[in-house]
């Protein structure tokens, strides 16, 4: 198995709520010192993030009381509510037409941006990004699939297979080792190596 792909899978596992690399990663890191080091570094990062001491010290929030809040709120009420008349003029002649133009542009172009893949899955309350979704996010799925499939007739089948993979390790069930290596090479060529 390609080390670049293993490292990507480690980062993907880390981005899920449950940091549990699959069996393939676990098997690989037993025999690959470089990937094991990468995995242990990622574990250290996760432990660092989880161990940060975010907490409230005794008495730290005593100042944030109902009495203080109402008193500050009463002070702020004295601020003028009306906007400056010059701003009103600018708003009327510049911002309002500009906003209207922006809204028209949005109405025209937004539907195109909203054509995104349907994903999202829950597993013990954790959400995962599908491998296909990652590729989609990075805007490289078409190139990767084309490079991997080798011909246009296979692209549709490959897209279906990738779309069905809600977790990175599921990809291993639908692609053989040569295909995974080809996929990884294609990703590295387009996106650069993870490690």
């Amino acid at each position: 198995m390609n080390c670049g792909l293993i490292k990507k899978k480690i980062v993907l596992a880390f981005s899920g709520s449950l940091f549990q690399p699959d069996d393939v990663v676990n098997f690989h890191i037993e025999s690959c010192a470089d990937c094991r080091a990468y995995y242990l570094e990622t574990v250290r990062l996760r432990d660092g993030l989880n161990g940060q001491p975010f907490r409230v010290e005794p008495g730290e929030l005593d100042d944030i009381s109902f009495e203080k809040i109402t008193s500050v709120a009463a002070d702020k009420k004295r601020l003028p509510d009306k906007v400056d008349s010059r701003f009103s003029l600018i708003a009327r002649w510049v911002w309002i037409p500009a906003s209207a133009a922006a809204l028209i542009l949005l109405a025209v172009f937004l539907p195109g941006f909203l054509r995104v893949s349907e994903t999202g899955d829950t597993d013990n309350g954790a959400e995962w990004l599908s491998y296909y979704e990652i590729l989609s996010i990075e805007g490289i799925q078409e190139e990767v699939i084309a490079a991997l499939a080798g011909s246009e007739t296979q692209i549709d089948n490959m897209t279906d297979e990738l779309s069905g993979c809600l977790r990175p390790y599921e990809l291993l069930n639908v692609l053989n080792d040569d295909e995974l290596t080809a996929l990884d090479k294609a990703i590295d060529k387009i996106y650069g190596s993870a490690g």
Binding site: V11, G48, L49, Q52, F54, I64, F66, T70, V72, L129
Partner: protein, 169 residues
Amino acid sequence: MNDEVFEKAVREFRERIYLMILKYVRNKEDARDLTQDTFVRAYRSRGSFRGDSSIYTWLFRIAVNLALNFKSRNRLSSHISIEDSPEIYHNENPTEGLEKAELHGRIDMAVGEMPKRQKMIFVLRYYEGLPFAGIAESLGITESAAKANYHHAVVRLREKLGPYLKGEI
């Protein structure tokens, strides 16, 4: 919402709001100011609260918006230091304690350097464990945008801290 209900909400939710903001701004003083601002804004607009969402959700959204628009006056100070939490860093091997403190400082810096919205998404997802749909709703973005930003935040964090984790610096 009457004053009695609001007072109860202050007592009940100020810690949760403060901790969420602290994870975003990574500075205790700023987090306290923003927490107070959150409740002040909420108090001033309590008449518009119709109960469509829970009081906490309403406060949470105000806090998120304030945090996103906040410019720190305390950029140089970290949210936490060895002096702030001696028991966390000193109740173990001194070398390990220092290493942990340094890692936390570097994480603070790396998270602090994320673009604002990406940082907020990372905080809400990683630390607060919010579902992407909830994050998207709170920030007024699509669920896909929330997922994309989160993924980029994780990759970026791993890359930024890579040399340190490898022991190269």
